[in-house]
């Protein structure tokens, strides 16, 4: 809504959440700290995808490619080129964004499902290159034991490092979401033809969004490598892309924070149901069916509409979009 700027309740809630998250590692075991870090990484990936899918209306079916490219670029710069970790950390997301620019430049010529089909083909091509180029990437074996500076070597310090960048990225993404660029992007999702008819260069706008989203996916990939010190071709496999797409649906893809919720649910399911059965995706599938029937706007979409009907309007809600 344009009349209420920021919602104090939301800010208080987020501040409390941040404080809790800052203190959690001191009470949690290493395993749970690791899982939380993984949730942040995955949430960032899902939110970067949602920039183009939920807000931009583009069928970016194979988004993980840019996650994987970021992770691999980071790993290769450290292990093969011997570059310092910090330089690799800065450069790797740009490698992702460049890949996004090239693939996106080709894809924005098409629309809807055709966009998605071309995107998935070009993405699979990159996967195939990384999978096959054994001398560079060690193919299916992946790259292990990427050395990290002492500062972020432990799980707890990696947690804080990841959390810091997660929050930073979120702030930047939120500013973009609320900016004229973000608003125009959402208008384009609803009606690209109308956008063109009010003088907006639709393709260029979409391409900019793709480059931004792939940049953030690259950061997520780098953070993954920081956490795991390992990269492997599955990071770019289409199955993971599908999973991230589901996270956006699950959390609510017309909201800003929804994909993060979806990521948390998915990672938690994979971890805790995965202990009992390797068919944890079965649970995810059932959950998805229930979602489609009962919460078609996703978890966050549902919460926002509840908040709205109880008279509380939120600036970040789907109706405020």
């Amino acid at each position: 809504m344009r009349k209420n700027g920021s919602n104090t309740k939301t800010i208080l809630f987020l501040a409390a959440l941040a404080v809790v998250l800052l203190f959690l590692p001191s009470v949690l075991t290493r395993f749970y700290t690791y899982i939380l870090s993984l949730i942040f990484v995955t949430a960032l990936l899902a939110m970067s995808l949602n920039m183009v899918v939920g807000h931009g209306g583009l069928f970016q079916f194979h988004h993980c490619v840019f996650y994987g490219v970021g992770a691999y670029a980071f790993a290769l710069m450290i292990t093969k080129a011997g570059l310092p970790m910090w330089i690799s950390f800065i450069v790797a997301p740009f490698v992702s964004a460049l890949t996004g620019l090239i693939i996106g430049w080709l894809c924005v010529r098409l629309t809807k499902l055709y966009f998605g089909m071309l995107q998935i083909s070009l993405g699979s091509l990159i996967w195939a290159i990384i999978f096959r180029w054994y001398s560079l990437t060690h193919g299916d074996d992946g790259i292990h034991g990427i050395p990290m500076p002492d500062l972020i070597a432990s799980t707890t310090s990696a947690y804080y490092f990841i959390f810091l960048f997660f929050v930073l990225c979120l702030v930047v993404m939120y500013l973009i979401f609320k900016s004229p660029f973000g608003m125009t992007l959402q208008a384009m999702r609803d009606n690209p033809d109308r956008c063109a008819a009010v003088g907006i260069n639709v393709r260029r706008h979409q391409l900019t969004a793709i480059v931004l989203a792939t940049f953030f996916a690259g950061i997520a990939g780098v953070l993954f490598a920081v956490l795991e010190r390992t990269v492997f071709p599955d990071l770019l496999f289409w199955v993971l892309s599908l999973e991230v797409f589901i996270m956006c649906l699950l959390g609510g893809w017309f909201t800003f924070a929804g994909p993060a919720v979806g990521a948390a649910i998915t990672v938690a399911l994979r971890t805790f149901v995965g202990i009992y059965t390797e068919y944890w995706t079965l649970v995810l599938g059932v959950l998805l069916i229930l979602l489609i029937f009962f919460l078609p706007e996703g978890v966050m979409g549902f919460i926002y509409s509840k908040m709205e009907s109880s008279g509380q309007r939120d600036a970040a809600g789907p109706r405020g979009v």
Partner: protein
């Protein structure tokens, strides 16, 4: 201001526009009429760049715009509404118009400035002029059909056009809504000096509003003249007006 000369467009062998001629002078209200399938919408799509003509010329203020993409045509000063309400369904009424205003101000690519504080006055002014100010916070998709059509005109106005093209602005409206919409169009033309090109099925609306009428039949321009001359024209009577009376 706008001149269409000898325009042709065919789709898979079907000739939709077959030698259309049109002249729109600055400040005029011009209507295009013709039976269903006469090529009116195709003609508008050719003018505003949604379609590329096979042959012929479209000039606007002396510049050939026939080959420009829609966003470039809009930047030259032509805005339009579509036959089917073409709005941003999930955005609020305010944002629907704001997107358009920001586009004209060349601020669509601004990243780190909150959009909700930008172009507020200008957007409010447009919404006020079309009478939607009390619905600014409503989600556009929840508006009535009539209001959605009005909102579409407001979106078009956001680009501050010199020429406004309206494709059947009152289609599907109640008689009251039709009267209100035509009142709005007349007001825009008279108080703001906006040049308006529209097509319409309701002949009362056309003959009451337009200062110049172009009649299309099978993609061809039969005549463009004043309402009186068009009414008196024998070919038009046979091809169109007469046919309607028989029906």
């Amino acid at each position: 201001m706008l001149r269409v000369e000898n325009l042709y467009k065919s789709f898979d062998g079907f000739i939709a526009v077959n030698g259309a001629e049109l002249v729109v002078e600055k400040g005029q209200r011009v209507a295009v009429i013709g039976p269903n399938g006469a090529g009116k919408t195709t003609l508008f799509n050719l003018i505003t760049g949604q379609l590329k003509p096979d042959r012929g010329k479209v000039t606007f203020n002396g510049e050939n715009i026939g080959t420009l993409p829609p966003h470039e045509v809009c930047r030259r000063g032509i805005a339009r509404s579509f036959q089917i309400a073409n709005i941003f369904h999930r955005l609020s009424v305010f944002k629907n118009v704001q997107v358009s205003v920001l586009s004209r101000q060349k601020k669509s690519n601004t990243f780190f400035h909150p959009a909700h504080r930008m172009a507020v006055q200008e957007t409010d002014r447009i919404l006020e002029s079309v009478g939607l100010l009390d619905k600014v916070d409503d989600i556009a998709g929840s508006l009535s059909h009539g209001d959605q059509r009005i909102l579409e005109i407001a979106i078009a106005l956001g680009t501050e056009p010199q020429l406004l093209i309206l494709d059947e602005p009152t289609a599907g409206m109640s008689p009251d809504e039709t009267a209100a919409t035509m009142g709005l169009i007349r007001r825009l033309s008279e108080t703001q000096g906006l040049t308006i090109l529209f097509c319409e099925h309701d002949m009362d609306v056309v003959f009451n509003t337009a200062q110049s009428i172009m009649v299309m039949h099978y993609g061809k321009t039969i005549i463009q003249a004043t309402p009186e001359e068009v009414r008196a024209n024998r070919t038009v009577q046979e091809a169109y007006l007469g046919g309607e009376e028989d029906a």
